[in-house]
Symmetry: C2
Amino acid sequence: MTVQPEVEVTGSAPLDRRAVRRQESKDEIIAAAWDLVRDQGLAGLTMRDLGKRVGMKAQSIYSYFASKHEIYDAMFHQGYLAFAAATADVWAIPGSEAEVAEDPLGDARRAAHSFFEFCTSDPVRYQLLFQRTIPDFVPSDESFAVAVAAYDAMAAKLAGFGVTDPESVDLWTAVLTGLSDQQISNDPGGDRWERVIDRAVEMALREIAPHLFEPSTPSP
Amino acid sequence: MTVQPEVEVTGSAPLDRRAVRRQESKDEIIAAAWDLVRDQGLAGLTMRDLGKRVGMKAQSIYSYFASKHEIYDAMFHQGYLAFAAATADVWAIPGSEAEVAEDPLGDARRAAHSFFEFCTSDPVRYQLLFQRTIPDFVPSDESFAVAVAAYDAMAAKLAGFGVTDPESVDLWTAVLTGLSDQQISNDPGGDRWERVIDRAVEMALREIAPHLFEPSTPSP
DNA sequence: GTCTATAATCTGATAGAC
DNA sequence: GTCTATCAGATTATAGAC
């Protein structure tokens, strides 16, 4: 006869079953919230509709989240965790862990496509994470810290290419967000700006990291 | 003794005084609406608040606009007229009317700064004109035509630089909107991305119009 | 932890007097 | 053309029973 341990031994925090179920419910609510805003727009999130989606009365949601803003904040937090994970995935490619990148152009190209895909695959998430469109919504310090960490990771990788000038980093982010933004706003569901990513990446790298394009084995 | 003409002779449309006053009231309402959305956010426009700003009961506004969407549409229309005017101003600089531009790099730089200034000086207008953030709002055909005309004028000027490839035009717009978007989202009121405009312009032109950078007077 | 009931407020829009 | 009155409904959030 098997016995369930009273206390979780694998997790670092001592979560009892009640806390686990509670967290599951919170996750379920957030997932339903994402579904809802994808249908109704980011500002179209209402407690009643959210309750319907999750199979609950709107008022019951307040047992899990103190306010609607707290729900937005949880979505913001989760969104940046997903962003950090997507970013980490790209860099976790054989050869790219090296101190000095072996194929910087390829790495940058993969990163650009990944960022573009992340943004355009979920325009509402893009709106929440990267634009200021919900009046009065200010991310909590904790959520904001996740966002900053994701940005720092990107800047660190650029530094690996020898790009440390802050203005060059800004130029790089402007190009990437410009492509994504135009795609979302002017050709949703299409590929008009996706087709120009590779050109944009080489263009930007030639500007911010010209040394990558100098001949590596100069003739003696 | 001077006599006022009974009928306007300068205007093309026969507007009587009543129609003029009516148009003035409509303009006043739209101006108040801009004030309001700059304070409350684009989605924060309500008929009651708008009424307060214009010194009118909310219900009276319906004498001028059939619905709230019609107000958004008038703002959209006016915004693109302003955009077209700002664009025309930049190109109306001595030397730039020529069939073949004499100082294409300077022209492009001025155009970029003008676009950036137009976008960042009024983020809410940027949101209404260039992003899809108001659920269910679709510009009327007439308003949309103004937007298309403004885009065509920009494409025509690029063609004057010898840039006719559609993908090159898309690359150009991506760079410009990327700079503006990052400025609005990540450094509102600052100049972090403004400082990188000139670099971005030369970078983009080298990519989409490399012939501009070839020596113009080759040695014999 | 979920419910009912409800507070308190806001929403866009219409009817009709003046 | 502006008003009062009002509809018909939505909104977030709280109190308290079970």
